[in-house]
Amino acid sequence: MVATSETIKKVRETTSKYKYGFSTNIEVDKAPKGLNEEVIRLISLKKDEPEWMLEWRLEAYRKWLKMERPSWSKVNFPEIDFQEIHYYAAPKQKKKLNSLDEVDPELLKTYEKLGIPLNEQKMLAGVAVDVVFDSVSVATTFKEKLAESGVIFCPISEAIQKHPELIKKYLGSVVPVTDNYYTALNSAVFTDGSFVYVPKNVKCPMELSTYFRINEQNTGQFERTLIIVEDAGYVSYLEGCTAPQRDENQLHAAVVELVAMEDSEIKYSTVQNWYPGDENGVGGIYNFVTKRGKCLGARSKISWTQVETGSSITWKYPSCILQGDGSVGEFYSVAITNNAQQADTGTKMIHIGKNTKSTIISKGISAGNSQNTYRGQVQIQKSAKNARNFTQCDSLLIGDKCSAVTIPYINQHVSNAKVEHEATTSKISDDQLFYCFQRGIDTEAATSLIVNGFCKEVMKELPMEFAVEAQKLIGISLEGSVG
């Protein structure tokens, strides 16, 4: 989500209650609850998919049936009943849309409440927006300008039809279907997401932004995103989320795959602000996401930046497979937990190529009764001569009922590789707060200043448009946690 003056105003007006707790009234075309081969066939049919795609889904489904739910994380939640979820829901559309004017006014109103009127977005120079409302993309902007440069940016369902050769080659190539329980499920039932293709030598002329939003009650959200950047290409991709207030937990199990060829660069930034549940964590989003990038070409670079403030449970490890010689992986993360939120997040850096380099900067902030775990793996394989990694994990505690845990796993199989790990834990001191108060800065603003200061190294990695909003979000998500 891009911070327009309008959005900043909205964010400012926010009170301690979750402000995006509303839902729109749009007739929904939805699959019956539960999962079986028939439902998968329905999804595939609704999406007008070719036969090979349906086969791919069914195979994933059959594998999923044989898999066990993972239980190794530090997060706790009641067992999910996968037969109680709707796997397909789409806002009803009578015909194909040619322009924004034809978009359901109800939808546009929703965006307005979210603080990102599309009309304003369209005018915002340099940012194209592919909006996902529940599961179907309803509006895409800036397509023409992108097309001029040869960049493809479209819903993945469209890519399946128009660019089957790319989908067949790369879908599941970074995150295998059976990577884990949720990736298999996602592969079987994903309904939409984004597809980006940047051709050789092309620097994508604008930042690409997708706005995910969960709307339909009890609809599991299974996005699928695939980004491919050819030799010497570049793209910066922005992802942001909000969701309406609910009573029942919502599962979100997305899969994001990035492929970077020789000398190319992918910058993937996320601001995640899904409904965290009430003070006791009831009704929040379960965010179980698999994000992975493969630096396939030499000297390629993938950089993940995330600001995680929402969800009742966040369980994600954006990772890099550094296969090309001299390739670079980066992970910059701010994870904030308040009240009863739980986060188990971090990254994996898999060094395969020679002279590969990775940097991990993780800032965890815990308040209330929350629990914040950094879990990171750095693996230096035998072939990764001269690989280097630097990891820094800092935790900030607010109050005395929360917890922060840092769990680094380091597997080093090369003697001349260099792996460094630093970790700190600190608290916001009374002295710091009093100093701010004495300058007329109130509790909320002081907390926001101090916490943003703590996160500085990560925040500066965010694209400008995102950074402003992310700073506000950090303040909002910690409201009421001090004093």
């Binding site: 100093y435 300058r439 007329g440 943003n452 703590f454």
Partner: protein, 250 residues
């Protein structure tokens, strides 16, 4: 007219009585120096005025600009124009000095019903005042008090005071740890700030500061009460003879 009226204040810190019936009246345009031996309650007095948690009144009353401060939170007092220059300014890692100060200045302006300064106007004003205090641009780009020398920290406190333009400024041992040059710069800052509209309370151990900032009144604080008040000559007397005579006589 009294801008600050401290009336028979008793205050305990962690159940130990520190202020034992202190009274002090400060009018607009006056500079009061408060001197006293270690442990006499000088810093407690400053925290009490600023509204630090744990420094609430046991009894007595403090009126600031006709308002009973016991009903005001620390940030409200600051916004209303109560400023404390810290003896040990606090570091805020990652918080840029300019952002911090803009937040502070605009909170006060908002409280006063004035328009908030936009980025450009704020920077202009900050640069102007910084120049007067020999504060380099580079220092403003650093994080609040992080990597500042002792002298820089004190100068930065006075710089903030000038930016915020408070009604009452309490300077808690602002002279400690300063060399002569820094002391001169800080004193010039305070002297420039002095006007008919505001008041300054200087808390200090040493008469030296009072050569640079000449007070209207000098008070000797000992054992939680003001033992003696007088003009600048009282400070000179203390410098020469120590506190013992005054404390014992009272």
């Amino acid at each position: 007219m009294a801008i600050l009226n401290i009336n028979n204040v008793h205050l305990n810190v962690e159940e130990k009585q520190i202020l034992k019936g202190i009274s002090l009246s400060v009018n607009k345009g006056e500079v009061h120096a408060i001197m006293g031996p270690n442990g006499s309650g000088k810093s407690t007095l400053s925290y009490m005025l600023a509204g630090r948690e744990g420094y609430e009144l046991e009894s007595g009353q403090v009126l600031f600009d006709q308002m009973d401060i016991s009903t005001m939170s620390a940030d409200e007092r600051a916004k209303a124009g109560m400023f404390l220059a810290f003896q040990y300014p606090v570091e805020l890692p990652g918080v840029s000095s300019m952002n911090f100060l803009r937040e502070a200045v605009n909170s006060r302006r908002k409280y006063l019903g004035e328009a908030e300064l936009n980025h450009l106007d704020f920077v202009k004003e900050a640069r102007r005042i910084a120049k007067e205090m020999f504060i380099k641009d580079e220092m403003l780009k650093r994080y609040v008090n992080v990597g500042f020398s002792g002298g820089e920290k004190k100068r930065f406190e006075i710089f903030q005071m000038s930016m915020l333009n408070p009604k009452v400024a309490v300077l808690d041992e602002t002279d400690s740890g300063l060399d002569v040059d820094a002391l001169k710069i800080v004193s010039d800052g305070v002297n420039n700030f002095r006007s008919k509209e505001n008041s300054v309370i200087l808390i200090t151990h040493y008469q030296r500061l009072l050569d640079y900032i000449v007070p209207d009144y000098v008070h000797i604080l000992a054992d939680g009460v003001i033992k003696k008040s007088g003009g600048p000559e009282l400070a000179l007397h203390v410098e020469k003879n120590g506190y013992a005579g005054i404390i014992n006589a009272a």
